[in-house]
Each structure stands twice: as C-alpha cells, then as structure tokens.
Amino acid sequence: MICQAWRVLLAAIPLTVTMLTLGAPHAFAQEPPYFVTYSQVLEEPGNLEVAQKGATASPKNANAFYSSTFEFEYGATAWWTTEVYVQGQTTKNDSTVFTGFRWENRFRPLPTEHFINPVLYVEYEDVNQADKSFLEITGNHTISDLQVNNSQSQPLIERSIEGKLILSSNVHGWNISENFIAEKNVSNEPWEFGYALGTSRPLASAASAKACVFCRQNFSAGAELFGGLGTRYTFGLKQTSQYAGPTVDFNIPRGPTLGFSPEFGLNDNSVGTLWRVKVSYEIQQFRDLFLRKGNR
C-alpha cells in the first residue's frame, strides 16, 4: 500500500515541477482564499492551475495524519472549468495510502454578472474510506471515521456522484459564497448532504503603482464555515462534523499562491483543529503550448 501511494505522489511531484519549468508565464489567480467553499470564479480559459492542498490534524483518540491532494484545474472555456484531483494520506503509527481520485466540472450558466451568481458543479468520486482530505464534508462524518486503521478503511471504495449549487456574490470588494452539496453513492446508499459558506476580500482595493511583493493587494483574507448535513434520513447539523476558521492567501507576483487556514471543530464529532496549507501555481495559456509554432 505504501508503494502504491508513494508511486502516485512521487509521480505527481516531477509532473508538477516539469509544468512549472515549461517557461509558461504565470500570474495571479483571482480566486478567493477558500479551501472548501467554491465561488463563481472559474479558471480562465486555456489556463492550467496546479495545486497541492495539505491537511493535518491530531484527532482525539486517533493517530495524527497528513493528507495531500494534487489538483489539476483547467479552464476549458470561460463558462466551463474541469478539474482532476489525486489524493493520498499518511497516518502516524499506521501507513501511507492512496485514497482515490475525483473529476469535477463547474459550469456557469448565466452570461453576465448578477447580485447572486450561480455555478453548477458535478463531480465523480472514486475515493476509499481512508480519505482524510476534508475537501468537503457530507453525510454523517464523525471523528470515529478517523480512528479506523488504513488497512481496514482503504479497501472500502466509494464511487459517488456529487452535485453542488454554488451561489456567489461580489459586494463592495467582499466575496460571499454559499455551497449546498448533495452526494449519492452509486451503490444503494441514501443521499448525503453538506454545506460550505465563505466570505473574503483582498486587503487592498486599489493596486499599487509600483511592482511589489508584500503589497496589501497581494493578500486576501476571509473565513469559512462548513460541515455535514446528514443524510436523507438524518438531515440536520447533529451527528456530523462542523468546522470554522480564518483563511488567508498570499499571491506572490509572477509566482505561486500560498494559502493557510486553521479550522476549528465546532462540536464533539469534529477534530479539534485542522491545519491546512495550499500551494498553487497557474500556468497561463497552457493550451497555447500545444499550438503549432507557426500559430503561436
């Protein structure tokens, strides 16, 4: 199992490095600094964003873990973004395992901006129960799920279809986003639900006239609240985990974006503190790399 996980993670690292060294120009992503919540921002058409998201925690009565997720997000058009996730985790005193992959698509149905902008999200997941990525919480996720050994949880694979209704607004420099999540295992299990809310803003509204690294405009900060809503039969905020915390992003000019967030468990079903880090890098006009030389 260790070999399998490392094979995937180690394969992703040189792939990432290769992409970063292709010489393609890179830039700011205009995305808000969320880890779970989606806003109306899609990837710009032709751009490829490569990201690594990490989550670590020491749950009560369970071993500490570190989960790593690699994301490859591509702007197919200005109204359609497609993304592949590959993920794994390592648990102290246990093992390192590959936990699965996800393929998501986001569609923006309305051609102009409105006070509330909807985005439709559809995802296919092939993830086993050893997953500790906390990319979202659905159903009745509790701390006891984190106490199971990898050897027991990894063989239990869940294939599911997930939909999200993303509603997002930009008001006076603030982004306010709400996600409602519905997930259905393709086997005979009930619908599971979840939610995520986020608000954020850049630390400066106007840009500096001088190129600078530590200008306030390069930082954005906000807060997130997310958790499960149970299943079709147990709908509600109880018997599932809930988290909230601040989040901050630093867009290094002509470089990667770094993100950080401590998220605090709000009930006994949640981990005390979930620490998250993110590094993302946007390769601009990735598709132009495949144009014939004469057309470049």
């Binding site: 120009p25 830039a27 700011f28 205009q30 995305e31 808000p32 806003s39 109306q40 921002v41 899609l42 710009e44 058409p45 032709g46 751009n47 702007g75 058009t77 200005a78 109204w79 923006r108 051609p111 102009t112 901006e113 902008n117 930009n170 420099g173 982004n175 803003r201 850049p202 400066a204 509204s205 106007a206 840009a207 500096s208 006239a209 001088k210 190129a211 405009q217 000019p253 002509r254 601009q284 006009q285 132009d288 144009l291 004469g294 057309n295 470049r296």
Partner: protein, 143 residues
C-alpha cells in the same frame, strides 16, 4: 416519441437562444447607466501605472504583452476598444463575455478594474499591419 421530441426542444431552445443572443456585439449589451459611468481615475498617470501591472498579471496572457492581441484574441488597441467609453470597458471587465471566451473579472476589486480601464485608455491606437501574432482589429468581433 412526441414526448421525447418535446423534452429535447425544451432543453435545446433556451441554449440555442442564449448562444444566438451571445453572437451580438457585447457593446450592444451594455446598459445605458453603465455606459455613462465615469472613471474615478481617468487621466491619472499613477492609476495607469497600477493598471499596467494589473494588465501584465491578468490580461497579457490572452491579449499580449503589448495589448495587440494574440492567437486570435482581440487587440485592445483597436478602434473598437479605444472608441468605447470608460463605462463600457468597465462593464466588459466586470461581466466578461463567457460565450465568446472573455471571463468575468468581477473578483478584482472595482478600483482595480478602473485602474485597468485607465491603462487601457492610455494605450496608443494600433497602426501597424496585422501580424501572425497580433489579431486584426477589423476582426475583433469576439471582443
């Protein structure tokens, strides 16, 4: 069979209508109130300098470092853009034209969008003949 045809029509007609509507030039879609909006940074060199940095970081990848357009994406030094009002340029930055490939930049704070407008208005009109790497202003229908 009739029921199936009806369902397909219900799904397709709004999509085709939306695509048909998107074929109109974006300038025609700009509401009058937006068209008349005044750029608070108009003519300010500092704002243009800030806009230049924003342009480099966000726009140059598609429109070219010199804003002359590239890979079929439109020039911002064309007569169409340079004759547009500040409000019209601000509107396209905020809303984009997703069906034509222009994303919305509404996540940039409004002040930064106005700084971009100031920079775009400071660009000289393109006079050189179109090249392989620059788009032709006359064909800038997409924008």
């Amino acid at each position: 069979m009739k029921k199936r045809l009806w369902m397909v029509s219900v799904l397709l007609i709004p999509a085709l209508t939306a695509m048909g509507a998107a074929n109109g030039k974006w300038l025609k879609k700009v509401p009058d109130a937006d068209r008349k909006r005044v750029n608070p940074y108009a003519g300010q060199p500092e704002a243009a300098a800030a806009g230049k940095i924003l342009f480099r970081d966000n726009c140059a990848k598609c429109h070219g470092a010199d804003a002359n357009g590239q890979h079929g994406r439109p020039s911002l030094r064309s007569e169409r853009i340079q004759n547009a009002t500040d409000g019209e340029i601000a509107w396209i930055l905020k809303n984009g034209d997703p069906w034509k490939g222009m994303p919305s930049w509404s996540s940039l704070p409004e002040q930064q969008r106005w700084q971009l407008v100031t920079y775009i208005r400071s660009l000289p009109l393109a006079v050189s003949a179109p090249t392989k790497t620059g788009s032709q202003p006359e064909k800038g229908e997409k924008q």
